[in-house]
Subunit: 327 residues, 2 copies
């Protein structure tokens, strides 16, 4: 297969962590990797192919300005490799807006897609994750875009988890169609009507915040403002709860002793709840596979991101999305 382009300069932990993850992915998964970034800053790439890019768009930088000014930034170059057919997918743990903008500008939108959306898996203990979209690409949305998010989300869920006709819910503040913002009411009507004929999933109506981390629904559709806030609230809560439980386990000598039995049993749950396990979010609706990983991604998160990228390429995600939007 074509290599997967990895933005070597992205992420809070620095190029060293990303490169370590990329090398691990290449050796564990046997996937060819194209590292994109500053060869002098990225440390030892091992035997991975490197595409030199002299600039970096930092985490705090304004994404739009960064993309316009820094044509030779690692993230813009990574997106170009996909457009040029030199790579099959891109992975970045850097500035989310920059990754999104680069993919949008360089790969372009799929025909008919109004707005690409960020689809993020939310861990659900003991179950398949819930896919939430839009998790932050579009702070303001129109109802028709939410219908497309539903179509793309369903196609992605089927491709990634092998579930035909996944359950699609619309995030609101009550289950009744009369509840919610004007945007939600309009989207509800569209999804209930003919517009959901080509949905590729079953529209189950409105769902609420508490359903995000449940097995009641597979794909949850919302605007990027609400989605980003819900996602970050959940991520924050998971971290706080994990730390609080861990703090109790370490709080007394007796607890530490008891924890020797329990920590190995709790480890799978901790892994299941860790966003790193899922490899990051996908930008759906661009003409290529673009994975946007958490800024805090560890090397193992990069391995998981490469795995998901490979699976989505093998799986024909882009073609699935093309059909979903056309249908």
């Amino acid at each position: 297969m074509l290599p997967i382009a990895v933005d070597a300069m992205g992420g809070d932990k620095g190029p060293g962590e990303v490169v370590a993850g990329a090398r691990q992915a290449a050796s564990e998964l046997g996937v060819p990797i194209l590292l994109v970034g500053d060869p002098d800053a990225m440390g030892d790439p091992g035997d991975l192919e490197v595409l030199a890019a002299s600039e970096v768009i930092t985490m705090d930088e304004d994404a739009g300005a960064g993309i316009r000014r820094k044509k030779d930034s690692s993230v813009v170059r990574a997106a170009e490799t996909v457009r040029e057919g030199r790579a099959s997918a891109m992975v970045s743990a850097g500035n989310t807006g920059a990754a999104m903008g680069s993919a949008l500008l360089r790969m372009g939108r799929l025909p008919g897609v109004s707005r690409p959306a960020i689809a993020t898996p939310i861990p659900v203990p003991g179950c398949t994750p819930t896919v939430l979209l839009d998790a932050g690409a579009n702070a303001e949305c129109q109802a028709a875009w939410l219908v497309q998010f539903a179509q793309m989300g369903a196609a992605y869920f089927t491709g990634r988890y092998g579930v035909e006709a996944p359950r699609v819910g619309l995030l609101s503040i009550g289950e009744e169609p009369s509840k919610g913002s004007p945007l939600v009411k309009e989207a509800h009507a569209l999804l209930n009507a003919g517009d959901s004929a080509g949905l590729g999933g079953q529209f189950i109506g409105n769902v609420e915040g508490r359903d995000l981390m449940s097995d009641r629904v597979d794909v949850v559709v919302t605007d990027g403002f609400t989605g980003n806030i819900a996602l970050k609230a959940l991520e924050g809560a998971a971290t706080v709860m994990r730390d609080a439980v861990f703090g109790v386990l370490m709080s007394t000598d007796e607890a530490v002793e008891a924890s020797e039995v329990l920590l190995p049993l709790l480890a799978p749950l901790a892994t299941e709840m860790d966003p790193d396990t899922y490899g990051g979010a996908l930008l759906l609706g661009v003409d290529g596979v673009c994975i946007i990983s958490h800024g805090s991604s560890s090397a193992s998160a990069v391995v998981n991101a490469v795995r998901v990228a490979r699976d989505m390429v093998d799986n024909g995600l882009v073609e699935r999305l093309r059909q979903a939007i056309k249908g």
Copy 2:
């Protein structure tokens, strides 16, 4: 003091649970209680005073229609007792919309308040809770209302937790003032400008979803749609995580044995994270103290709700809000 009116018919667990909580509150706290509801359905009220109300607005009922049709419902009557000076506060664990609507119609708004808002404490392990408002009263908001929510939230926080000049944040999808929806950008500008002079708190700018369960901020302001979704996402996550951890603790004989040491240590954390501990949400901006408890409230949640109601009466919450809005 005047009694606290408790809607005996509200809540998923039925009148028995509410009445048990009310009796416990009266004996533990020494607070006079006025039970409002159907005497035949509420079981044994002990020596509590009862105000008969023949109707009930059920949890699933349309709140607006319920209030219009059922003038003799327990929740409407409870609100009336406050207006009439027969009770000092009302507590309901029933239909949230009905409690809100009854309080609004019967008690009325405080002068100058555009829209009352639901203020809900979000537990933060080891810290004072974060107060989130609006948690669902107003699905659509104007920027000026968010400024009032900030004023009311700060006054409430100071009254409830004794913290002067609490930190007030605006919920958005990035810390920069340029991030977010048009509503958030406009509210940010108002809060940064003269409008926050009478805030009674310090405006710290935008905060994100992950800050809700942190000690970075005291009062978080948002529209009722976003607030309700964030709150329910957090409540859902806390329940799911608690159940998952508990499941692990019970998963093997060895784990059960180890848990004998750990469960007593984890219990305070579980209590701290349980919404029942905080007695429910307050409807801020009406001319009276109105506590809206979770539908799933246990008897002990009712006790906590009565305690908060008493504290807020003793504390002059309504007068604080009146000053906050006037200032």
